[in-house]
Each structure stands twice: as C-alpha cells, then as structure tokens.
Symmetry: C2
Subunit: 117 residues, 2 copies
C-alpha cells in the first residue's frame, strides 16, 4: 500500500479532523450533551448524510462516541483528543504576547534570540 502522498486524511489526526469548521461546530454543540444525528444536522443546518459523514470522521479520531438508543444513535463528546492540540498551541504562548507593532522591535527580538542559541 504505497500511497503517493497527497493531503493527509482528515482521519489521520485530530488536527486534520478539526480543520473543518462544521466538525468544530458539531463538537461545540455536543458540549451540551448527547444528540442524535438528525437533531445535530438540523441545529447546524446541514443535511443528514452530511452530518453522518462528519460524525464518522470525528468518531474515527476518537473525538466522539456513539451508542445506540433504539432507533436512534446518540453521539457524545470525548474531548480528550483535543488536549494535545491545546498543549501544542500552548507551547507558543510566550510568543503571541510579544509586541509586533513595530517591525524594528520584531527584528531586534529575533536577532537576539538567534544569538542566544
């Protein structure tokens, strides 16, 4: 299975899975509790097949869990997978507090950082 790489699959990664706005919307909505597919679709203004497909991706990366409830299938949040993303971005916290207003300062700062290596 030698795959001639193109863009990584949405299911390859939590980062890829949440790159899609609608999937982020689903996750956000699920914070309020379990929801059956159709309800999700309605509340977010997407078609049922559309919702199902996004839920599939979310399920495959483990951000969502489902359980049967009679005729329905309830989807619930499992946010643990978001933690790595939060931590990764957190590693840049000290950088987004820097002032970039003046290019001068920016350049100075970088030069300095570079010298400290």
């Amino acid at each position: 299975m030698i795959e001639v790489m193109a863009r990584a699959a949405t299911t390859s990664d939590v980062f890829n899975a949440i790159a899609e706005p609608q999937r982020r919307d689903i996750l956000a909505l699920l914070r309020a509790g379990e929801r059956p597919v159709t309800e999700l679709a309605q509340e977010l203004g997407m078609t049922q097949p559309g919702a199902s497909k996004h839920l599939r991706v979310l399920r495959e990366v483990g951000l969502v869990r489902d359980r049967k409830a009679g005729k329905q299938r309830l989807y619930g949040l499992d946010a643990r997978g978001l933690r790595p993303v939060h931590e990764w971005t957190g590693g840049f916290e000290r950088f987004w507090n820097e002032s970039f207003d003046r290019l001068d300062a920016y350049v100075q700062d970088l030069k300095q950082t570079r010298q400290e290596e």
Copy 2:
C-alpha cells in the same frame, strides 16, 4: 466565483494551516529564531521547494513573517494566530478531565447532562 466546495484551502484558516505536520514542525523550529529557507529545509529533512511552499501557506495565514537579508530570506514566527486555536480547544478543558474509564459512568454522565437541558 462559485466554488463547488471540496476540502477547504490550507490557507483558509489557521486550523487548516496547522493540520499539516511539517508545517507544525516549521513553527516549532522557528521558536528558536529566524531561519533562512534552506536551513529550515535541511534541519527538517525536506526539499527547498517543499519548505518554500509550506512557508507560503504559513505566511498567508499570518503565522510567519519574512524579511529579506541579502541573498537570503529570513522567516520568523508570528504566533498570534495560534491563540484562537488554543482558546477554542481550551473551551473543552472541563470535558477532557471527565472519567471515561467505565462506559457506565460515561453513559450516566451524558444522560444527566441531557436532562439538565
């Protein structure tokens, strides 16, 4: 320009831009300071054109800045765009601390949440 949507462009969003592992590597490396393209490519084991392309994406979403330095072009980090991602994931913090060890507990919890609506 009616675009029959496919997967969103990598430049449409910071979320999409950082969905690519190599781009995350670039950002991480840039925390140590500015770097010319070739150096980045070498240190991360990618081709020069490859690095340039990823840097282009990062530049377009504003995660990176560049400035000419003679023959070279130095790229530097501008992490401010990562903040929204950090905050978005942070909105799920209380959820990833929940215990999912026993499915029972999980189901109980969701049932309860649902009733509280």
